[in-house]
């Protein structure tokens, strides 16, 4: 009955790691609470590695990985996964590209076969390339061009915040670049980045470690060994002055703004990074958070506000350089200057006066719930572990996150807030160009 706060529960995921002779890293995470498995293959290549003149290529290539492979005709991959009762997808991120299946556990071997087959090589044909360029263009139309606030802010902030092509360019790609993509580009991209030494395979769920190990060996053991390419540094210096841009969205009925600040290296300085993850929630998680209470409920200067780490909302699967993002939608005629100024004020207040009694603890308890909920799904666990293995060599970190988030101190959150100064800020404003209809 006590109105006290809950202790953050410990979680345990059993995790096995090993590396095949060909360099493929493997993570097994058994959990027999449901008769389903998740299979994820993550390649260490993403939007940041696209060559100039080939914006959107990492994503286009992801589509091509579904168009048939050594032993599989076009459409076979989808049919084999779904015909086994499973689901599949892939997604392209700044620093990696993932491919996954979730299936009833009697289909585990089939999923391993399918992933191994395309790791040996996709069938790259002109016809499939043209078809998938068309599909990707429709994807961009549906998600960006034909809707209000399309690509806001994930495609709109990077060019304001960053200067190098790798960090600043449009990861969905221009139609010109997509249309000029060739089979030769795709072959080069595969040869360079889709090496098994550049990949991680993770399998989670209803599996026996010894059996799964044998199956992994059987299907992936003879994928030709190819080493990972050297990963360049994408580092950029922090901003030294405020940056602010605006654009008119002809479909948008109301103004919006997003602001971002660089944060410490999520891999190299995890202890320095974690307080920002907590700070984002202190600021924006629910009615009792700082910015919702102030901007939405008290001032009514915004209709919604959100905050998160990573331009794609990916706090634990992105490398440096990355950012903390705050975004808000404004009522009709709302002033963006005023909103940014109020955010500065609130950050200042947090840095100076600290947090209220219980404010940090309750935010951490809520974060624990969110983190645990993500790991209940076999796919969530498996994908996260694959990326944690790839970027940190530490898939077990997943189970530690609720505790680590809970150990962040008030002093650290205040210090993080103190760094979010206007002169380090990149902001982008949406000017509404559309009526309500």
């Amino acid at each position: 009955m006590a109105a006290g706060r809950s202790r953050i529960p410990a979680t345990k995921h059993s995790v096995e790691r090993f590396t095949l002779d060909n360099g493929l890293r493997v993570v097994l995470a058994p959990d027999r609470s449901a008769p389903v498995v998740g299979v994820a293959v993550v390649y260490d290549v993403g939007i940041r590695s696209e060559p100039e003149g080939r914006t959107g290529f990492a994503h286009l290539f992801e589509h091509l990985m579904f168009q048939g492979s050594e032993n599989l005709e076009k459409l076979a991959h989808f049919r084999h996964v779904q015909g086994a009762g499973g689901t599949f997808n892939g997604s392209t991120h700044l620093d990696y590209t993932d491919y996954w299946e979730t299936l009833p556990s009697n289909a585990l071997e089939r999923a391993l076969f399918l992933e191994a087959d395309r790791m040996r090589g996709p069938r790259l044909t002109e016809e499939n390339l043209r078809n998938q360029v068309d599909v990707v263009k429709e994807e961009i139309r549906v998600n960006v061009l034909n809707r209000p606030y399309g690509g806001f802010p994930w495609l709109r902030l990077p060019p304001v915040m960053f200067d190098t092509f790798a960090n600043a360019h449009d990861g969905y790609g221009s139609f010109d670049d997509l249309e000029s993509a060739s089979i030769a580009d795709a072959t080069d991209f595969f040869d360079r980045y889709y090496a098994c030494g550049n990949a991680v395979l993770a399998v989670g769920g209803d599996l026996d470690v010894a059996e799964a190990t044998a199956l992994v060996e059987r299907h992936f053991g003879d994928v030709p060994a190819r080493p990972a390419p050297e990963r360049p540094s994408f580092a950029e210096p922090d901003l030294t002055g405020e940056r602010r841009e605006s654009y008119t969205d002809k479909l948008a009925p109301l103004p919006a703004v997003a602001a971002a600040w660089r944060v410490p290296d999520p891999i190299g300085d995890f202890a320095g990074y974690l307080p920002y993850v907590v700070l984002a929630e202190v600021l924006t998680d629910g009615d009792a958070s700082r910015l919702v209470e102030r901007l939405v409920l008290r001032d009514r200067s915004v209709t919604s506000v959100g905050g998160y780490l990573g331009l794609m909302g990916d706090p634990f699967d992105v490398r440096d350089p990355t950012a903390m993002v705050l975004q808000a939608h404004l009522p009709p005629g709302g002033g963006v200057d005023k909103v940014l100024q109020t955010i500065d004020e609130e950050l200042d207040r947090l840095a100076t006066d600290g947090l209220a009694a219980d404010e940090l603890a309750r935010t951490q308890a809520r974060m624990a719930t969110h983190l645990l909920r993500e790991t209940d799904a076999v796919l969530g666990r498996t994908l996260q572990m694959a990326v944690l293995e790839q970027q940190r060599g530490d898939p077990g970190l997943l189970g530690e996150l609720p505790r680590l988030v809970g150990e962040v101190t008030e002093e650290q959150v205040r210090a993080a807030a103190a760094t979010l100064r206007p002169q380090r800020r990149a902001a982008v404003e949406v000017v509404p160009g559309g009526g309500a209809r």
Binding site: L75, L103, P104, E139, V142, L145, A288, E293, A365, A368
Partner: protein, 441 residues
Amino acid sequence: MTVRTLPPLGPNRKLKLPREVERTLPNGLTVIVLRRPAVPLVELRLWVPFGRAHLARGLMMSQTLLSGTETMSSVQLAAELQKVGGGLSCGADSDRLMISGTGLSTGLDRILELLAEVLTGASYPNDEVATERARLIDGIRMAQSQPTHLVRKALLKRMYGKHPYAVQTPEPEQVEAVRPAALRSLHAARVRPAGAILLLVGDVQEAKALDAVERALGDWTGDGAPGELPSTPPLEPGPLLLVDRPDSVQSSVRLALPAVPRTHPDHAALQLANLVFGGYFSSRWVENIREDKGYTYGPHSVIEHSVAGSSLVVAAEVATEVTGPALLETIYELGRLATLPPKEDELEQARQYALGTLQLGISTQAGLAAVASAYAGSGLRLEFLAEHAARLAKATRDDVAAAAASYLAPSRAVTVVLGDAGQVEAPLGVLGPVRTEAAGS
């Protein structure tokens, strides 16, 4: 290159449902508990019948139910919930008011106390109502700029005519007129335990959880107004409705077809027919208009179940210049399945998908909660999933062909397209009669 063959599937895993424990409290509230202890959390869903509730007031109520009580402000409520890792949210549609939440399972008692506080004491404070009213109006304006919302609105109107389902979003001016007193009356009339269903799923002991609910919500009283909805009217096929959205770079194509409720003897066969047609990626329609022709990115075809009726909705966003051909292929694939039986291997593939995704769907606490609460809202319990699986396993090629012939026949479709009429009216007109309207009219 070595030729490698696809490994066979292992033996099918048996469908294992968690035990469902149920109790009806003296106040009429039905409580259902499902145990899945995989993570130390609990999911909560409270389903309150809401048929025929006033549209604007009902939606406003869902936005302000958590805005404060006699003793707590919205901020205090949110903070108290956070302390136990919890959160509550509220939403409304034409069938139900739904309060959803998740929290650490150690905080269940506290979450239930706070839920009770809201159910019995929500006060709809003037200031908070004013804030939420303005936010909701902005939200509606925002929705009205989204093609998916606009086409949905036109489709519902076209499908349902005078039925309450025809209009599911209020106009800004209707929201503008909602006062706190109206919300308090609506709450008094409709937020009642009789007929409501509370579902808990997660790391809980069934008996203890039932007792905890009884302790916390036993004092919530009152009879709900029944708000019974008339059955949905049959679809009336007619000219394609083209809603003009000038300069649209894509057209939103929607076809509504008849369907049956989950318990109907045709339902399993219809579900399989829909899968073969367009209900999953490896379907004829998706392989045709996406993987062969590249007209679209994420076409889908779904059976939608509501309290007063079911329907099948086919949806695709297609490039403006291929709107006519995309509709032609859609009609072709519907007609092909309605007139010729599916092949045996196509049916088996769809069947495996339907059965497998049932297993996947209940493999998380949140998934179990979603399935069990959707079932409970239609008067079913989770055990129905096993019955449904058995029907899917048994449906024959003839059953599926018969279902396709009656429900997927293109002649029975209601078709709505939202797009740039200047560009798509003529190509659509080639395929059949078209009636054009301005967006939002």
